[in-house]
């Protein structure tokens, strides 16, 4: 239910940030896939997207989480319940990420 009401300001901010960080030329309206954080788990564990698409991580858990790329290419701020973070992926490959607070939480983004 929290997933239906992400913080619009943060989301916009994160999206802007992500676009600047990862591909200034990517259109902000590119297709967006969603990863939900719930009960200390990233759902789905593996998300497959096309180049240039973005992933929005939405925290619907009752705990704070931080989404961190294993290769260090992105790191969200602290996401409390209802907050979200968007990352854009412009290169093909398999990218793993984890929670900076609870590193046993892991997920993968596959960019085709």
């Amino acid at each position: 239910m929290c997933a239906t009401r992400p913080n619009p300001v943060l989301t916009a901010l994160a999206a802007t940030l992500a676009v600047f960080l990862f591909d200034p030329s990517a259109p902000a309206s590119a297709k967006e896939m969603r990863v939900t954080i719930s009960n200390f788990t990233f759902e789905p564990q593996t998300t497959t997207i096309a180049r240039g698409e973005t992933v929005r991580f939405v925290n619907s858990d009752d705990m704070v989480h931080v989404v961190v790329a294993t290769d260090g290419s992105f790191r969200s701020e602290a996401l409390d319940t209802g907050d979200s973070f968007t990352a854009a992926f412009t290169k093909p490959g398999s990218f793993t990420y984890f929670c900076g607070l609870h590193p046993f939480m892991k997920g993968t983004i596959v960019v085709k």
């Binding site: 009960n39 009752d62 704070v64 701020e77 900076g100 046993f104 892991k106």
Partner: protein
Amino acid sequence: MGKDRENGTAPGLTRRHALECMVWAGTGVLWTVSGGVPRSLNLLDAAEAAEISQGATTFLQISDSHIGFDKEKQVTAVDTLTEAIDKVKALSVKPAFMIHTGDITHLSKNGEFDDAARIIGSTGLDVAYVPGEHDLIDPGQGKAYLARYGKGTLGAGWHAFDHGGVHFIGLVNVVDLKAGGLGNLGAEQLAWLKKDLEGRSASTPIVVFAHIPLWSVYPKWGWGTDDAAQALALLKRFGSVTVLNGHIHQIVQKVEGNMTFHTARSTAFPQPRPGTAEKPGPMIVPADQLRSMLGLTSVDFTVGKERLAITDTTLA
């Protein structure tokens, strides 16, 4: 801060005796350590507490105050920390100082740090801090914590001091966590620890405190520290080592040789026993049960006692 404490040795305390620690359960933990083996004293009555405290130095452990946590309907983390601190103020024997084993705040916000400082500061006691992972999630990734608590510390906030013949070491194991990993001390901190312990007499009682448990409580939920074994190896030669942690919001205790391991309750919210739920995280319990699951710990070191005793007290 550490220097002040060093000079504040309580009358009657000598360094050849081990530590007696009493821990108040719920809001804190009361530790009595003698000969390296702790006794956990649950809910001491006033007379018992007075007896144990005679000729002893007491310090308190509070942990996981999570100021900013707002998922409970009836109370806030500010309310329950205030209740815990009220218990501290009501003690007949004033503790020498307090330690806070991290997760002072929930979101590392300035207002949260301010509230915690105001409430804890109202005791007038010295407090030695180490950060929890929730204290390092400001945009500067720890700058806010270090600006407040970094004075006299090294690296991410580790430090050591002496009090009453006991050597205290505050370690930081919540920085640079790796995917799939547990708590992390890191090479730089381990090298500092080795140096800090070098040349110290094995008869010096040692208290180590850090946020995440320094032993393997439940790795599946991240309740352990990857490189703790290296720290414990350095501590092995000491006759009395007491390791105090937080993070798991419940009391777990283990004695291994001369080492005693103990985790404190949170003042904010409980977490499930290992393996009794699918995942860790806040347990939202009925208001009338909540305070019996929150608390603090008191540690009391006494001359002539062989054993360090730990007492936990709840907020109920």
